[in-house]
Symmetry: none
Subunit: 183 residues, 4 copies
DNA sequence: CATGAATGAGTATTCATTCAT
DNA sequence: CATGAATGAATACTCATTCAT
């Protein structure tokens, strides 16, 4: 279970690769070549495969990172206790997605074999807290369920990304989506 | 502009290829091989490339067909004069998207070079009629704009497809989306 | 079952590839690269893979060809009715093996996944005829069984090839082997 | 010639690596990875290459060890004076080969660059003693020469290994081979 | 026009070997 | 000396596209 801690240079390379991969896949989609990732990271191709034995592993690792980031952000918001935190978070995630393909892949399976479902688990809990709080304070209608919220978020991210909504349209669209949750 | 009329067998082949391509790309995504399309259509690979000089051309043609289909359907609904026709159409499109990747590609560019924007034009008009009518009768809030409706539809289609929402979840999610448009 | 007949150029290429492959694998072992085979055959790499979708398929095809050759030769000898035909055939095969790795691979599995056993079937029958005849005429002891003959032939081929026996030694060794079969 | 004596742990590592390598190459053939050898030996890959600068060196070392083993065994048998010791030894070696690829590689070069000929020298002498004794006592025909015996042994080992003869077939085949040496 | 064989650049992955830690 | 991360050449296989039959 607990791997031995990585050597300093290895950890640095792992990080570099992840960063490069996120960039490359954001720019050219997940069909971009691993070689390009290696080039951008400034390492040899073998190094990429030493850290991530498979392209799918690399993709999964990117998603994991992103998931951790989002989950942390959601937890922070939840801790602050603002009843509208759900709306804030929702909008933030969509904003992020507008610029980064990867967010979208985190929220819904793509075509890749990466099993996202399991990875969304962490995010799910965070969203659940936000939703519960919003319901309790009446910011959201009582019958709105967690899976619907996730579905709407997924849809918005996909849309924002794939359709390339301009900022203004994006904001109005998200507003309409959130309107659907209000009492 | 005006191509010479195709020979009967050529026209039949063109149709077969389009049908086969729609199936194949729906099943395996746009990364499916052109060879597979040819196989399914029962023609040789050369024939596919004679009709569609590029894989992108083939994809574009599929979308064009789908666009025509949806536009027609929207116009029919508009002609019937039901104030809630917009909702009906919206739901229908999402249902279709749930089973067919291609709808999604019609509504938003992907990674392919296909210029969808121009293709959505026809659909745009049809949706505009539906929206106008819905606004006039008060089925939809006055400030809801056309681009928002398209954005929501795009998002829902992408979500339904990519996330593979089960029917129940799909219906509830679409309901929430439409709730956002109501007064 | 019955494939459509190949176009003339395709058949020519197929033959060229087989010849080239036999040469290359004889020279460098089965670990030689498919690219080298293509180069030697004067075709592009894709062509090799169009004819033989897998390296194993290519190897299998070579063996099949060789098997057919040997089986034919054995049948010819059997038809002539010489009681010592088994000895003649045995010696011939070993001579061939001395120069060509591939013979050896026909007679025994290697490390490759090629299922030789099934392929030897044809040869087996031919050898059986020769052995039966030899037993009937008393050229070979009654208790000698077919599998032993095959085993000895396998062994001799492997030895001749791998150890690179000089002609003189090869002949004497085969003589000793055959001595073991005589009454 | 005289290397500085190895440190205790270094000597232990060398031995471990040799044992592991013998196992691994027996199981997966010489194309097995050096990394796998390291893993099995419980050392890092660098350690393997420190002891054996090249994969070929590692293979050569294994063979050297095996050669010493067999030579010792042959000498012991020769010392005991049994006229049939040659047969016994022959059978033993083949039995060993049936389970261990490495024996085969000892007796004949393969595709590797290892120069086996020189290595067989020691074994040659031992076999010579056995053969001489057998000839003197009439257990073997007078005209049987040493190189033929070696060739037969080589052949049998290759056959037993590559063809995977079942025990029963193996015994009968060896019996036939030895029959060829008898008066 | 249709066919399907040929092309060849592109991709993920492996592995012997080197070298900084 | 041992470690194990980095290297990068090599390899099997795929696929859009071209073109001779």
């Amino acid at each position: 279970m607990s791997e031995p801690p990585l050597r300093a240079d290895a950890r640095r390379n792992r990080a570099r690769i992840l960063t490069a991969a996120a960039e490359v896949f954001d720019e050219h989609g997940t069909s971009a070549s691993t070689e390009e990732v290696a080039r951008r990271a400034g390492v040899a191709i073998g190094t990429v495969f030493r850290h991530f034995p498979t392209k799918a592993d690399l993709l999964a690792a990117i998603m994991k990172e992103l998931q951790d980031l989002l989950a942390t952000r959601a937890e922070t918001l939840a801790a602050e206790g603002d009843p509208k935190a759900l709306f804030t978070f929702f909008a933030q995630v969509v904003e992020h997605a507008a610029g980064a393909r990867t967010v979208v892949h985190l929220l819904a399976a793509d075509g890749t074999d990466v099993d996202v479902d399991r990875q969304v688990a962490g995010l799910r809990e965070a969203l659940d807290s936000l939703l519960t709080r919003a319901r309790q304070t009446g910011a959201v209608r009582a019958e709105v369920r967690l899976d619907e919220v996730i579905a709407l978020l997924t849809a918005a991210c996909h849309g924002a990304l794939a359709a390339g909504w301009a900022p203004d349209l994006r904001h109005r669209t998200v507003a309409r989506l959130l309107d659907g949750l209000r009492p």
